[in-house]
Amino acid sequence: MSLLEVRELSKTFEVRGRGFGRGVGQLRAVDGVSFDIDAGETLGLVGESGCGKSTLGRAVVRLLEPSGGVVRIGGVAHESDDPRLRRLAQIVFQDPYTSLPPKMRIGRVIAEPLRIHGIVAEGEVSDRVERLMLDVGLKADLAGAYPHELSGGQRQRVGIARALAVEPELIVADEAVSALDVSVQAQILNLLRDLQSRYGIAYLFISHDLGVVRYMSHRIAVMYLGRIVELGPSAEVVKDPLHPYTRGLLASVPTLHTGRPTVRIQAEPPNPVDPPTGCSFHPRCPIARDVCAQDSPPLTEWKSGHWAACHFALDDHGVQSNQNDPGDQS
């Protein structure tokens, strides 16, 4: 049994015009998504803005009520404000400037979960806070500081310490390093990896940055317009992608190889309120055929452990010979 089981998860938002409540449409931010995460594993979730990856992350820890489907953690589908759920699964947010309460000292921010769940006796709270701060690489004397006195990297460490306080088995990291400068970003990524090897925490690691996801994840899931279009072991997804969207995304990522990339994906993602018929990627897909506009391809296991939602996943698209395809250069 996996630590996290997500089955057919959906989240729909009502999109309404102003005035006399005239409903305009439904935005299917997450549309029937299923995946598992094992204990101590990192699943990277990658996609562009508006693909639903953050919504999915928040639905997993029940900060958003799913519209359909099941989320089981440790085999149990919890109610949203069940304290047991809160001790199993935590979340780290993107923006280090809004994810900490501005008027609360750092020590108390980290002590809050300890007190709420009575994890340690009141007399031991400050010792435990100090230990958590050391765990995430913060000097203990920062406990008296307010968030605005800290740098972005330090704030992100506080957010991680707060999540660690409940001794969770799963942490959703929602673009946890995207707001940081490159030189600080690597520190936080390594911290998250160290914590995983020390405490066996599983991560759902959400990012728009394929390089970061590749570095952090055992497996990678690629999302497009509310669905997972590809899911597989990281090295395989990056080197031998099955879905044309993944291929295009990889080709778009700037690499340190000089010379310009070939742009494979044209135009921009469609309006999610009014998604295309069939495969939602077909209007931008370089290999789309008639069938793609009619039938939505299911997520299929084409190779062992490597899934893709494409009618032509195994076709050779002439990609392998391309010099600029990062899959060929390692």
């Binding site: 404000d81 309460p101 306080a165 409940v166 600080v184 340190l256 994906i265 921009e268």
Partner: protein
Amino acid sequence: MTDVLGQLESAPAGSPRPVGWRMLAASPLTMVGLLGVIGILVAALFAPALAPADPGAQDLTNILAPPFWDEDGSSAALLGTDGLGRDVLSRLLYGARNSLVISVAAMLLGASVGLATGLFAGFFGGRVDSVIMRLGDVQLAFPFILLAIAVLGVVPNRSAWHLIIVLGIPGWIIYARVVRSRVLAEKEKDYVAAARAIGASKWRRLFRYVVPSVWQVVPVIALLDVGFLIIMESTLSFLGLGLPPPAATWGGILAEGRRNMVVSTWLPILPGLAIVATVLSINLLGDGIASVFDTNVVRGGFRRIIPKGAGQPALQPADQALLDVRDLGVTFPTRAGSIRAITGVSFDMAHGETLGVVGESGSGKSVTGSAIIQLIDPPGRISSGEIWVEGEDVTRVNDRRMRQLRGRSIGMIFQNPAASLNPVLSVGYQLREGLRSVGVPRREVVSTVRRILTTVGIPDPDRVVRQYPFQLSGGMNQRVMIAMALAARPQLLIADEPTTALDTTTQAQILTELVELTDQQDISLLLITHDIALVSEYADRVLVLYAGKVCEIGPVESVISSPAHPYTKALLESVPRVDATGDRLEPIPGELPDPSIVRTGCPFAPRCRDVMELCHSVDPMLTAIEQGHHAACHLWSEVEVVGS
């Protein structure tokens, strides 16, 4: 006071700066306000002790006595007497007491109703919220003062309570709106979501997390509200609708005094001065406190500071370079002292080449771009150096010439494309305006617009020109910006993080198009970015900045494959690459430097792996490593600097 409220509604959550006496004391006007408020409080609280006479005691033998400074005045009645021989000073003191009691009570009434409804509506939202806010709309669409006047006129046995209710109740909406909008903004923030994730209950989230970030604005509103209520209370008293006589009120004293104003000019003047002084003090104090919350630095203004020696013929000998930046320094004066954004930055660009400028926050990469087109955000200014563009030093040319250079010689595109287009003007208008200003004949404008939009990859230009920026995607808006910048065929295009706000696939499309277009038209491109990988793909040469100084400059191939500066090296090693194996990253230890702290030596020294004793004291100079490849690092210094 609504303008202050607007600021409070939109002020960033829980301002980073706490309200401290020191900050208030820093502004003399606020101190004046504070002293005034203390004075009026003393007068109101101790009126019975301070007043020389009973405010109601009439003395018909001594009516309309002049104040002491008048030659007929006496010290018995310092401010003279009114038409019934009552002591004016005593009546003013009691007037302060009455006015303040009623205004403060009315404020408390309005504030408590408003705070409760605002918190409730904001946090729980839904139907309760919409009902409360509709009520507020009706209230705002209604002249309550007029109704108040009518009510006080018809109510039998008018008392202080009637005044308090009539003045206080309409005020709830001010508190409710501000508190609600702050609560709405706060509760959507991640720290409240985080509180939920760690298991904090709804009430704990409201009172431990949201309220502490919101309540700080309330004293300011309350203070300004009291000032406003004092004016309203005295207005009602003046109209004969305030506290019934013989109670002393400022408005009442004034109304009585008005009857004798030809004889005794001071009678109507004095209570008015009391009101002005009181309300002015309150407002000064309120504004002072509000400005502490307001974290927005006053920017704005069109001022461009030209260094001394302007007006000299700004010419240099003919040269190969299109752009030649020499020893450029930009500083931002602040109260705490000047912050040096960049120091001693020098580089040049040839015609048609693409130079990538790479750096993290605070590296000065954007300031460098803004300095070249002479649009540094105020209060920043060029403190040293020269910027030669096609043989003209743009730091010294006059404003008129600079305007001609902008657009035609130097173009610029920005990070946030939607914010860089005017939200209330259509895309077509802005395109046509730009074309007209660079001299495209009127009858060719429409066709030119269509042509340039097609060039930048916009499939349906005729639809796009009719739309407003908010109706277009980020990628479309950036294409429009590029079209606008290229339309004037500049020699140099500065692109400041042009794709940072965009998705990866859009970024690749737009940069590829941009680089192709600048290549075709032989335009030099200054590509400013935090992403060294981006530069490696699109640029010919790269300039690496750290903490406002040049670390390294050279051809992309050699900088990427054999970086000379430890910072460049470390930067390359700390970027997780999609095409790399899972080897552990080597992060750069420590934090980015604080720009307000001036330190000697190499700015990277505290984080550097190869740091030497020398690095902490001596700033390294740019040294040539090979042809066209320079680095500012003591590892490459050929001459040992001794004894400095």
